[in-house]
Symmetry: none
Subunit: 248 residues, 2 copies
């Protein structure tokens, strides 16, 4: 099963550092995106791009280089620009999560979709922003909002993947959980062992066993673990018996 949304492309505008192009390719491939379009990259192809792409060099090899943004988005039904906050921008940006839902909906409806990232230093220019249907802004700290371009692609691609994903019907082979009966026997075992010691309950409300039950309920103990716990209690109990036998 491929989860690849073939009609969703990443468009990088005037990227300065070839290493960033490679890191973008890797981020895309990690999230199942394949289509990379480069508009006037300063240096491409470049060995640093290949190095940072790690295993995603197929995405670099298939990257399409354009001389203008217009040709890179010509066949797209939806063009989403990425933008930092606080800029003079033509419309209110959406956040990545909402953006991803819209992008995947449009892609499923058969539209080619472009997500456009500006150059490292300037971001998208006003001319480029004007070619977008929608803007997305990644929420960041007020003190330091300048995301690396590959990081920005990674976050958007991650949200796209979540939006694309169907609920998998994955079934694993796991140890069954202890039944409530088995847990009950464990609690009784522990309680009887404690009763024999004259243990004083120092909890604020005197409900030690209810605290213990809450702990193990939360842990969702499996059958193997309950056997281990019972084994520990039995060992302590037999120890006591044999210590006592020593008294006689």
């Amino acid at each position: 099963m491929s989860m690849t949304p073939s009609p969703v492309r990443i468009v990088l505008m005037a990227t300065s550092h070839p290493g960033n192009i490679g890191a973008v390719a890797r981020a895309m491939k990690n999230m199942g995106l394949q289509s990379l379009h480069l508009v006037q990259p300063r240096e491409f192809p470049h060995p640093e791009a290949v190095a940072r792409a790690a295993g995603a060099d197929d995405i670099l090899a298939n990257a399409v280089v354009h001389s203008t943004m217009k040709t890179a988005i010509a066949d797209c039904g939806l063009v989403v620009g990425t933008s930092a906050r606080q800029r003079h921008i033509p419309f209110d940006p959406v956040e990545p999560r909402e953006c991803a839902r819209l992008v995947i909906d449009r892609a499923h409806e058969g539209n080619a979709v472009a997500l456009v990232f500006g150059s490292e230093r300037t971001g998208l220019t006003n001319t480029e922003l004007a070619l977008c249907n929608m803007l997305v802004t990644i929420p960041t700290s007020d003190e330091y909002s300048s995301l690396n371009i590959a990081m920005a692609v990674q976050i958007i691609a991650y949200e796209l993947r979540l939006a694309m994903r169907n609920q998998p019907v994955l079934v694993e082979q796991v140890e069954p959980l202890a039944t409530q009966d088995e847990l009950e026997l464990f609690y009784q075992h522990l309680q009887s062992l404690l009763a024999g010691t004259g243990f004083r309950d120092h909890t604020s409300n005197g409900h030690l066993m209810s605290r213990v039950r809450r702990l193990f309920n939360r842990a969702q103990v499996d059958r193997n673990e309950i056997r281990i716990l019972r084994g520990i209690l039995s060992a302590l109990q037999q120890q006591r018996v044999s210590d006592r036998a020593g008294e006689v």
Copy 2:
């Protein structure tokens, strides 16, 4: 208004490439995280770390270097390991979104929280995984699941930021979690008590204590509960002593 969850730290295990440490620092600062802990980094400090950190060199300057994971998480109530899919792991991983909600909840309750990332080539080792209360796995493409470490930190930090923002202002008074140090003392107590009984370990691989640790790690025991558990062990221990005294 600062949205910084100061008690949430990023812990990097045995990082090979100093550039990745710098990229992690930048990813953290973008999302308002501040506390970086490095366990046996191969090269640190390093100019490449500073270069990739861009404006986040304060995070590098304040990074704490450790020789073991244990000291890096000693005071933490919650330790979250990051893991790729398909590995033999002690418990079911959660996804970043759910993880972030839990982490921010625990942090708001006053617990120090560590998010631990393994080395670039190997990820977290089984020994390191065994020290975690919880695992998080970033969903990726089946074809190419190997995320760059700084990218993984970026996605988790992004989800933490969203979770922080959505956190209701109302904070309930809850018992803090037991720290890893307190848990360690409990395990030692239990082990010494068992050693005195001549208890035989009947687990399939003879690793009873590691199963016990896994159970309690998963349960995320609070400070009150650890007191109860220690009290139970002390009662059993004193019982034994007094039984023995009876022998004389």
